[in-house]
Amino acid sequence: MSGGGPPRKRNFKIEAFKHRVELDPKYAERTWKVLEHAIHEIYNHNASGLSFEELYRSAYNMVLHKYGEKLYDGLQSTMTWRLKEISKSIETAQGGLFLEELNAKWMDHNKALQMIRDILMYMDRTYVPTAHRIPVHELGLNLWRDNIIHSPMIHSRLLDTLLDLIDRERMGEVINRGLMRSITKMLMDLGPAVYQDDFEKPFLEVSASFYSGESQQFIECCDCGNYLKKAERRLNEEMERVSHYLDAGSEAKITSVVEKEMIANHMHRLVHMENSGLVNMLVDDKYEDLGRMYALFRRVPDGLSTIRDVMTSYLRETGKQLVTDPERLKDPVEFVQRLLDEKDKHDKIISVAFGNDKTFQNALNSSFEFFINLNNRSPEFISLYVDDKLRKGLKGATEEDVEVILDKVMMLFRYLQEKDVFEKYYKQHLAKRLLSGKTVSDDAERSMIVKLKTECGYQFTSKLEGMFTDMKTSQDTMQDFYAKKSEELGEGPTLDVHILTTGSWPTQPSPPCNLPTEILTVCEKFRSYYLGTHNGRRLTWQTNMGTADIKATFGKGQKHELNVSTYQMCVLMLFNNADGLTYKDIERDTEIPASDLKRCLQSLACVKGKNVLRKEPMSKDISEDDTFYFNDKFTSKLVKVKIGTVVAQKESEPEKQETRQRVEEDRKPQIEAAIVRIMKSRRVLDHNSIVAEVTKQLQARFLPNPVVIKKRIESLIEREFLERDKVDRKLYRYLA
């Protein structure tokens, strides 16, 4: 019967199972001796001569016969004795061989432990749990820990060796990483507590003092950029160290040590370092350095907020200087361009070096908002910038370029607190552009309006759009006029009228002006035509806004066509009847207001190449005693000569005051409307709440002054829209 297979019907008798009863009193001792011998042989590397079957069975029988305890205790004492011997051999190892010896013996012990556990498997499975003893493998590790690692001779030497090697590696030496790996793994195997107490904690302490010293050294001799490079390098080095021969759990701990010692402790000094700190990096666009600073500071508490705060105060400071520097304010277009450049520069820094961090973007926005509003001419200047672009700056630009520039301007617009001031100026400038026909692209104009509408709503742009409509309607009207009245007009001067709806266009005073007769006639014809087709309207001529083309013949018979303003035309036509006129004559005949007249005469007589009049005396400025003569000797290479007047410059002081006043006047009804709206829905509200609500509602247009709000409330009380509460003077009630 040598084959296996399902047993056939038995043809022998099987008896009830009975374990052999052991009668020999020395049985246990005998069996134990066999096992003890085997353990020693295993440690002596003679395992291959042993029979597993016999040893396993011996241990099995011991446990079966209730000698488990003897077996276990025997194991414990034998192994302990063995380990003490091993400990001695490790202690005697010389210098560099210490770690290797320790490692080698550890490997041996593990192999031996495995084999011992195999033999004693039955005990491990049955006796150990019932007697609540430590399983064999764990016992082996504990004994190693207690007799080797914690042996006084070895304990400190091991730690010192490890720390010394790490220190040498930090200083640039190459060490045996594999051996280190093996040792730290051993410590982890003995239990995380062993690894932490016997290695990691001291390691972190030593590292902290190492980096504290090194960082002190570096910061004395390095500039900010280089210091950060070194810090980054050390950080990477530590992470690499962990990945090669430390436990992964140490990474977070050691990196936070480096972060603290090298970065957190020196944060302020680095950021404020002279000639190389954060501000210098910003000024010089040092993207790489800034990016490094961001990445490193991000790791420490308050790191980023430190950078942000310094950046914010730097921006506010520079911005403030920019907007209050009188030199800069001379050229509004340059001023705004400079603002846009600053914005671009910092946008790029945030995107390239700070990873588009939203908090930095917000800091940038708030800084700009802060300093742009420090100068109350900012709205005007921004409008002038747009005006310049739409007149000539965007000439030849592609549609995309136009969009890009206008979008950038809109960004600045958003920062303005007094958006209604901007609106006023924009209207003025737009009017001038439209009426003088000096706009580079209709599409660009439209695009700007759309952007403003998106940003501020329909209310903001409805009048502006009205202006465009008027221009178109005027064209149609003129066509119709000439179609119907051409025979009537005959040979008179050709008229081109722009009819402006009063509400949409900036309010202009219409000062008096005596038009030449020929002009008057055709103007009257137009007026009657227009009023014939439009009932109930009133027309007023705006002589300060017109232009004229005049044919002029000079001394030697040269004919030129002059393009002049209406005022200039009135002045020049006078010279058809006289060769010379005094200032006073001209003023009396034309009735043009003095400041305008002076500018007008200046452009006719004092501008090189455009001096169709000669002035005596030949001074630069116009005085009331001057006399003017028709300049026979005028020459120009061009047939058509354009004599302009200064256009759309920034306002003079009085003009500025006037505009500001108008803005303040316009705000009053808006504030009142807001107050009424609020009170109507709330019925009863206290003073401070009203102020807060009104401010909130109007903030998209301007920042209302609380004093003004108070005055408006009082005015409303007088007009019986509101009343004060009889008991609480700070409370107001809505009167239906």
Binding site: G4, P7, K18, F52, Y56
Partner: protein
């Protein structure tokens, strides 16, 4: 109005209802020319069903598991056998890898670092060869047809032997099967030896069942005390008798 339902095979139909009054009611929203238009949109989720049907068909024609048969055949044919056991003088051939896969003790024995790693033959003492063969059969096929016969005394004896072997070689499942077998077929003749076995191999349930059986009636106790097995119990596990005595006293006091 719109409503949707999912209709499945073998599932009762969902029905969506609307009041007549809503249809015809004062608002008459749905009526036009005295008629109502009902629009039905049907989505047939065919592909999934087709796959399921195919899968079901595939399962039906799949051959049933036969791992244990093939390994059983391997044992019988002894092809590739690389170790021979001498059990009470009888040679029994087997395959190291299979044994090691199924028993941690064999794993340590054949893939450890001691003599057996390289030897061709292993001596097994104090086990019956039939028992060893049954053990091997279980190792290869995870079945013990030997124990399937009901009620026979011999089967019970085999179960006892097998229980010890299973415990020795760390085969938990086999041990449990044996415990079940012995558990159900307790008799006066066998209870004493079973009790000794339970005590030595840590089968507490079996032990308490045996003790209960013995103390069930005074006749039982007397009968058991007269068996050969009882003498063995006295000799090998005297502590069990002490426990029995305690239980008798407790019972007596009730």
């Amino acid at each position: 109005m719109t409503a949707s339902s999912m209709f499945y095979e073998n599932k009762s139909l969902d029905v969506s209802l609307i009041r007549r009054s809503d249809l015809e009611g004062s608002r008459r929203r749905y009526e036009r020319d005295d008629s109502i238009l009902v629009l039905c949109s049907i989505n047939v989720l065919e592909p999934r069903d087709a796959v399921a049907a195919a899968a079901a068909a595939a399962v039906a024609s799949m051959p049933s598991p036969d791992l244990h048969q093939q390994f059983g055949e391997l044992l019988r044919s002894q092809k590739g056998a690389d170790i021979t056991f001498l059990v009470a003088g009888e040679p029994v051939a087997a395959h190291r890898s299979v044994l090691a896969a199924r028993s941690p003790v064999f794993m340590a024995e054949f893939f450890g670092n001691m003599k057996e790693k390289a030897s061709l033959c292993v001596e097994i003492n104090d086990m019956e060869v039939e028992v060893f063969r049954t053990l091997l059969y279980f190792i290869y096929t995870d079945t013990a047809p030997e124990l399937d016969q009901e009620g026979e005394q011999a089967t019970l004896m085999m179960a006892q032997h097998l229980l010890e072997a299973a415990d020795r070689y760390g085969l938990e499942r086999l041990k449990r099967i044996c415990v079940e077998k012995v558990y159900t077929d307790i008799s006066v003749d066998t209870v004493a030896t079973t009790l000794a076995l339970a005590e030595q191999h840590g089968c507490s349930e079996l032990k308490s069942r045996c003790m209960k059986f013995i103390l069930a009636t005074p006749e039982n106790l007397q009968a058991v005390a007269a068996t050969e097995g009882y003498k063995h119990l006295e000799a090998s596990c005297p502590s069990v008798l002490t426990e029995l005595l305690k239980l008798i006293m407790v019972k007596g006091n009730k």
